[in-house]
C-alpha cells in the first residue's frame, strides 16, 4: 500500500518546486495563525499589552491563507495532470494490439477518477502532517507533556488507525465506481441492441444495482470517516480539558489553534485507503506487461524493405491451437502480394507479427534482411502502414483523422488519398468538407464510408510497406473494383500486401499466397 503511494510521489518529482512552495506557504500561514492565538491569549491574560504585531499578524494570516490555498491547489493539479499523461504513455507502450480484456470504461475510471482520488494525498495528508510536526513542540511547550502527547496521538496515530480500518472500503469503492461506469457505458453504447431487444428495464435495473453497490461502499467509507472525525474531536476535547485544568489561558488557546490545524487529518486518514487503492489501480494499469519489449541495444535500421517470414510457429495463447506452424513467406521490396484464406486462418496474425504486436514462438521475421526482434518497434511500425479490421476512427474531424498518418500532409495530399480510397466525392458533398466531425468510431458515416476514410488514412502514410487487411469489406462490388484499380497506380513503388478472402480479378499482383494448415502456399499468379 505504502509502496504504491511512494511510487506516485516519485511521479510528482517534476512538480517538486510547486509542491515544496505550497508546503512552505502553508507552514507560514500556520505559524501566523498560531502566533496570533498565542499573542491574543497573552494580551487577554494581561501578560503583555496589545502589541502592534497583532495587527500585522491578523492581516498577514488572511493573506497567507489565501496564498496557501492557491499555491497548494495549483501544485496538486499540476502533479495530477503529470500522472495522467504518464499513464497514457505507459498504456501506449503495451497497447499496440488493442485493449484486450481491459475495459475502456474501467480504464476511464482509472484515468479520471482514480487519478483525482490522489489529490487528498498532498492537500489533506502531507501538508497537514508537516504542520503537525511543527506544532508538536509548540503545543507541548504551551500546554504540557500530557496535552502534547494527546496532540501527537490525534495527529499521527489516529489517522494511521483510520487508514488501516478503511483500506478495504477504499478498494471496494474504487471497484464499485468502475462497475457503475461500465454498466452505464455498456447500456448507452449498445442503445441499438437495447432498443431492438426491449432491454430498457433490464439495463436500468443493472445500473441501479451497480449504483446500490457504489452507494453501499460510499456509505461504509462515510461511516468510517465520520467515526474517525468523532474520535479525533473527543481527543481534542480531552486535550482542552487537560489544558483547562492547568488554568493557563495561553495553553488553552494553543490547544484550540493546534487541534483546528489537524482537525481534518483523521478523516483524511480514512480516505488514505481510498487513495492507496486508486494508486494501486493506476499503477496496475501502467504496469501491464509489454507483449513485445524493445531490445536493450537495437540494431541500426536496414535500408531495404523486403519482408521475409522464416519458419514461423505462433499461437496467441498457450492453451489455444497454433495459428502458424512452420510458415515461410518472402515479400520482396516493391512487390504486390495477395494473401488468401478464410477468416480465422491467421492473415491478421501475420500482420501482427510484422508490426511487433506479437512475437513468434519460433522462427524469425526479417525486414530488409534484419531480424525485427533486434529492431525498435516504433521504427518497424514507421515502415509499415496497416489497415486492420479494427482500425479506429477518432471522434474528431476528417482532417484530424487523416493527419494521424502524416501530420504534415497538405490539403492536396489529403484529397489525393480520399480520391484513391473512392470517398472524395462524399467528402466534397459535405458542407464542412474536411472539417466534418466523423462521430464515435465514424458513426456519422455508413459502415462502408467509414472504412474508406480509414483506407484513405492508410494510403496517406509514407510507409514503404502497406498491409491492407480486407480493404474492400463493406464496399459494394462497383466501388471495390474501382478502388482496386486505383490501388494499382497510387501505391507505385511501395510494397503492397493485400489480405483478402477472395480476388475480383482487377488486381495487379506479383505473387499470390494461400494460407492453409498454418503454412503459406504459393498459388497460381
Amino acid at each position: 500500500m505504502t509502496g504504491d503511494l511512494l511510487r506516485i510521489l516519485g511521479l510528482w518529482r517534476r512538480q517538486g518546486g510547486w509542491l515544496l512552495a505550497g508546503a512552505i506557504v502553508s507552514l507560514a500561514a500556520l505559524a501566523s495563525a498560531v502566533s496570533l492565538m498565542a499573542y491574543g491569549a497573552m494580551a487577554l491574560a494581561g501578560i503583555v499589552g496589545v502589541p502592534p504585531i497583532l495587527r500585522v499578524l491578523g492581516s498577514g494570516r488572511v493573506i497567507l491563507r489565501y496564498a496557501e490555498r492557491m499555491v497548494t491547489h495549483t501544485a496538486m493539479f499540476r502533479a495530477l495532470s503529470d500522472v495522467r499523461v504518464w499513464l497514457f504513455r505507459r498504456l501506449a507502450v503495451g497497447s499496440a494490439g488493442g485493449l484486450g480484456f481491459r475495459r475502456a470504461g474501467d480504464l476511464l475510471t482509472r484515468l479520471v477518477g482514480d487519478v483525482e482520488a490522489l489529490d487528498g494525498l498532498y492537500l489533506r495528508i502531507l501538508v497537514p502532517l508537516a504542520g503537525a510536526l511543527l506544532l508538536v513542540p509548540v503545543v507541548t511547550w504551551g500546554a504540557g507533556v500530557v496535552v502534547g502527547g494527546l496532540f501527537a496521538l490525534a495527529a499521527f496515530v489516529l489517522p494511521g488507525l483510520a487508514a488501516r480500518a478503511s483500506r478495504d472500503a477504499g478498494d471496494t469503492l474504487a471497484r464499485a465506481a468502475g462497475g457503475l461506469r461500465i454498466a452505464a457505458l455498456d447500456a448507452l453504447t449498445g442503445l441499438r441492441e437495447v432498443r431492438a431487444f426491449a432491454a430498457e428495464s433490464r439495463m436500468l435495473a443493472l445500473v441501479q444495482a451497480r449504483e446500490a453497490t457504489l452507494l453501499g461502499a460510499q456509505r461504509a467509507l462515510a461511516g468510517r470517516i465520520a467515526l474517525a472525525g468523532a474520535v479525533a474531536f473527543l481527543c481534542g476535547q480531552a486535550a482542552l480539558l487537560a489544558a483547562l485544568s492547568r488554568g493557563e489561558i495561553v495553553g488553552v488557546f494553543l490547544v484550540v489553534a493546534g487541534f483546528e490545524a489537524i482537525g481534518g487529518l483523521s478523516r483524511a486518514g480514512a480516505l488514505l485507503g481510498h487513495a492507496a487503492a486508486a494508486a494501486h489501480r493506476v499503477l496496475e494499469a501502467a504496469d501491464a506487461p509489454i507483449p513485445v519489449p524493445d531490445p536493450a541495444s537495437p540494431a541500426p535500421m536496414p535500408a531495404g524493405t523486403s519482408l521475409r517470414f522464416e519458419g514461423i510457429g505462433f499461437r496467441w495463447l498457450p492453451d489455444r491451437p497454433p495459428v502458424f506452424d512452420g510458415l515461410s513467406l518472402d515479400i520482396p521490396q516493391g512487390a504486390r502480394v495477395a494473401l488468401l484464406g478464410p477468416s480465422g486462418i491467421g492473415k491478421s496474425s501475420l500482420a501482427a507479427l510484422a508490426l511487433k504486436v506479437a512475437a513468434p514462438d519460433s522462427g524469425r521475421v526479417l525486414l530488409g534482411e534484419v531480424d525485427i526482434a533486434t529492431l525498435p518497434s516504433a521504427e518497424v511500425r514507421a515502415r509499415i502502414g496497416w489497415l486492420s479490421q479494427a482500425t479506429h476512427l477518432f471522434d474528431d474531424t476528417i482532417r484530424t483523422n487523416l493527419l494521424l498518418a502524416r501530420p504534415d500532409a497538405t490539403d492536396a495530399e489529403l484529397w489525393d488519398a480520399l480520391e484513391a480510397a473512392r470517398i472524395a466525392d462524399v467528402v466534397r458533398g459535405l458542407p464542412e468538407g474536411l472539417e466534418t466531425w466523423v462521430g464515435v468510431g465514424g458513426a456519422r458515416f455508413s459502415g462502408g464510408q467509414g472504412r474508406r476514410l480509414a483506407l484513405a488514412r492508410a494510403l496517406l502514410s509514407r510507409a514503404p510497406i502497406l498491409i491492407l487487411d480486407e480493404p474492400c469489406a463493406g464496399l459494394d462490388a462497383e466501388t471495390e473494383r474501382a478502388f482496386l484499380t486505383t490501388l494499382n497506380d497510387t501505391a507505385e513503388g511501395r510494397t503492397v500486401v493485400l489480405i483478402t478472402h477472395r480476388l475480383v480479378g482487377v488486381e495487379r499482383l506479383d505473387r499470390i499466397f494461400r494460407l492453409s494448415g498454418g503454412k503459406a502456399v504459393a498459388a497460381a499468379g
Partner: protein
C-alpha cells in the same frame, strides 16, 4: 448565445425545483445542527467559567457530557447527510437513465456514449453536495448565527450588534464573488467533459495511435487538455478562496472589536471570555456555507447537462398484436421521406414498397443508398419525416416493434460478460438449453469450443478474443433465441469470408422460415440466397 441563455434558464429552473425537494429532506439535518450549536454555546459557557478560575467537578462533568453530546451529534449529522445525498442521487440517476434509454439509438448520432455516461455517472455524483451539504448549510447559515446572537444579546448587547454587523458583511461579499464563479464553473465542466471524451476515444483507438507512431503527439495533446482543466478549475477556486478570505476578515474584525470593547470597558472576565469564544462559533455556520457554496456551483454546472437530457417521449397507446404471429407480418412503406441532417441530402426520398407475410425481401444498392435507414426505421430507432410505415394495417409503434422484431446489425455491441450472457440478452428468461440450441444454430458453438471456458468465456470491450465474424455469430444467436416473426438483417455477412458467409446464410435461411425477412445487403452471395430483390438508389426504388 440564445441556446446558452436557454440552458441557463432551464438549469436555474431545475435547481429551483430540486432545492424545494432538498429543503424538505434537510429539515432533520438542520435540527441536529441547531442542537449542536446549543451544546457548543453551553460548553463555551463552561470553558469561560473554568478559564476564570472556577474548575469545579460540576463544570468538568458538564464539559465532558457536552463533549460527548457534540461528538455524537456530529456523527449522526454526517450519517444523515450522506443518506439525504444518496437518496437524491438514486432518484436523479434513475430518472436520467430512464430518459436516455427512452430516447434510444437516435441519441448516438449526435452524442458520444462517453458523454452520456459522464452525465449518468459524474454529473449525478456532482449534485450530491447540493443535497447533503449546500441546502442544509444554507438554512443553518442563518439559524446557527441567530442562536449564537441570542446568547450574546443576553450578556452583552454591544457585542451582539458588532457580530450582527460583521455577519451581514459576509453574504454581500460572497454574492459578489459567486456571480463570477457560476460563469467560470460552466467553462470548467465543458473542459472536464472534453477531457473525458478525449480520454475514452483515444483509449479505444490506442492501437491505431501506437501503430501510426503518434502516441507522443497524443500524450502532448492530453497534457494540453489537462492544463486547460487545471486553469479553469483554479479560476473557480480562486473566487471561492477570495470569498472565504472575506469571511476571515469579517471574523477578525469582529474578534478585535469585541476584545477592545472588553479591554476598554473593563467588563467581567467570564463574560468577556464567553463572548470572545463565541465569535468563532458565530462564524462557523457561515464558514460551512462558504465551503458548501462550491457544491452549489458544481450542481449548477451539472444541472445544465441534466436539464439537457431529452424529456420522456409521450407514451403511445398499446396496440394488440396478439394474433400477429399466427398470421405473419405484412410491412408497407408509403411515400416515406427522411433526412438525418438538414444540411445533407435526403436519406429516403419518397420510398414505397410492400412485403407480404413470410416473404424474404433483399434491399440492394450501393453504400449510402438508404438501406440501413430503412432497417433503423423498422426498428423504431427513427421516425419518418413524412409518409407512413404500416405493419399489419396499423401504423408502427416502437414498443410493439421490439416485441415483433429480431435484428442483426453491421457491428454488434457485445456487453461485459460471458458469451452466454450476451446471447441471453435477447431473451433473459431463456434456459441454458435454449441458449445452447441458439449458439449451435448460429455456429457460435464451433468457435466457442476452442475458447478457454467455451460459452462462459468473458468478452471484453468491443469483443476482444472474438473476430468480427465471431461477434456477428453471437448476434445471430441472439436472433435465434428471440424467435420473433419479423427478421431485420443489416449487412449481416459484410465481414465474413465466402465459406463462412455461406454457412451463416444457411443458418439465416433456417431462421427465416415462417418469418417475414428484410435484409439489406450488397453481397452477391446474399442475393443468391433467394427472395425478392429491391434496388434502392438515393433513397428511392430504382
Amino acid at each position: 448565445m440564445s441556446s446558452a441563455a436557454h440552458a441557463k434558464t432551464a438549469a436555474r429552473a431545475w435547481i429551483g425545483a430540486e432545492q424545494r425537494v432538498g429543503f424538505r429532506a434537510a429539515r432533520a439535518i438542520l435540527a441536529l445542527n441547531l442542537l449542536g450549536t446549543v451544546f457548543s454555546v453551553g460548553q463555551i459557557f463552561v470553558v469561560a467559567r473554568m478559564l476564570s478560575g472556577q474548575f469545579t467537578a460540576l463544570l468538568v462533568a458538564a464539559f465532558v457530557a457536552l463533549a460527548f453530546g457534540r461528538a455524537g451529534l456530529a456523527y449522526a449529522t454526517e450519517r444523515l447527510a450522506f443518506g439525504v445525498g444518496a437518496a437524491a442521487r438514486r432518484r436523479l440517476r434513475t430518472d436520467i437513465m430512464t430518459r436516455l434509454l427512452a430516447a434510444g439509438p437516435a441519441l448516438l448520432r449526435t452524442r458520444h456514449s462517453a458523454e452520456l455516461t459522464a452525465i449518468v455517472v459524474d454529473r449525478v455524483e456532482a449534485v450530491d453536495g447540493l443535497f447533503s451539504r449546500y441546502i442544509p448549510a444554507s438554512v443553518f447559515a442563518i439559524g446557527g448565527p441567530a442562536l449564537v446572537l441570542i446568547a450574546v444579546v443576553w450578556f452583552d448587547r454591544w457585542s451582539a450588534l458588532v457580530l450582527l454587523g460583521c455577519g451581514l458583511l459576509v453574504p454581500v461579499a460572497m454574492a459578489a464573488a459567486g456571480i463570477g464563479a457560476a460563469a467560470a464553473t460552466r467553462g470548467q465542466f465543458l473542459a472536464m467533459e472534453r477531457l473525458q471524451t478525449r480520454f475514452l476515444d483515444r483509449i479505444r483507438g490506442i492501437a491505431t495511435i501506437v501503430l501510426y507512431g503518434r502516441s507522443e503527439d497524443e500524450a502532448q495533446r492530453l497534457a494540453e487538455a489537462a492544463d486547460e482543466l487545471r486553469v479553469r478549475t483554479m479560476r473557480v477556486l480562486r473566487v471561492a478562496f477570495l470569498s472565504s478570505a472575506a469571511l476571515d476578515l469579517a471574523a477578525a474584525l469582529a474578534l478585535v472589536s469585541v476584545a477592545i470593547h472588553f479591554f476598554a470597558g473593563g467588563g467581567d472576565l467570564p463574560t468577556g471570555l464567553f463572548v470572545l469564544l463565541l465569535v468563532p462559533e458565530f462564524f462557523a455556520p457561515l464558514r460551512a456555507f462558504s465551503a458548501a457554496y462550491q457544491d452549489r456551483l458544481h450542481a449548477t454546472g451539472a444541472a445544465e447537462a441534466l436539464a439537457d437530457v431529452p424529456p420522456m417521449p409521450r407514451p403511445t397507446p398499446p396496440v394488440d398484436f396478439s394474433t400477429v404471429a399466427a398470421q405473419g407480418i405484412e410491412v408497407v412503406f408509403e411515400d416515406v421521406r427522411f433526412r438525418w441532417d438538414p444540411t445533407r441530402g435526403p436519406a429516403l426520398d419518397g420510398l414505397s414498397f410492400h412485403v407480404m407475410p413470410g416473404e424474404m425481401l433483399v434491399l440492394a444498392g450501393p453504400s449510402g443508398a438508404g438501406k440501413s435507414t430503412i432497417i433503423e426505421m423498422l426498428l423504431g430507432f427513427i421516425r419518418p419525416d413524412s409518409g407512413r410505415i404500416v405493419i399489419n394495417g396499423a401504423d408502427i409503434v416502437p414498443q410493439a416493434l421490439s416485441r415483433l422484431t429480431a435484428w442483426i446489425g453491421q457491428r454488434p455491441v457485445l456487453f461485459a460478460g460471458t458469451i452466454r450472457d450476451n446471447i441471453r440478452f435477447a431473451r433473459p428468461e431463456a434456459t441454458d438449453a435454449d441458449i445452447d440450441a441458439a449458439a449451435a444454430a448460429a455456429r457460435v458453438t464451433d468457435f466457442a469450443a476452442d475458447l478457454p471456458a467455451g460459452l462462459d468465456t468473458p468478452v471484453g470491450e468491443g469483443g476482444f478474443g472474438l473476430s468480427g465474424g465471431q461477434a456477428q455469430r453471437v448476434a445471430i444467436a441472439r436472433a435465434f433465441l428471440k424467435d420473433a416473426p419479423l427478421l431485420l438483417l443489416d449487412e449481416p455477412t459484410a465481414h465474413l469470408d465466402p465459406s463462412t458467409e455461406a454457412d451463416v446464410l444457411e443458418s439465416l435461411k433456417r431462421l427465416a422460415v415462417g418469418r417475414t425477412t428484410i435484409m439489406a445487403s450488397h453481397s452477391a452471395a446474399a442475393h443468391a440466397f433467394g427472395g425478392r430483390r429491391l434496388d434502392i438508389r438515393e433513397g428511392r426504388v430504382a
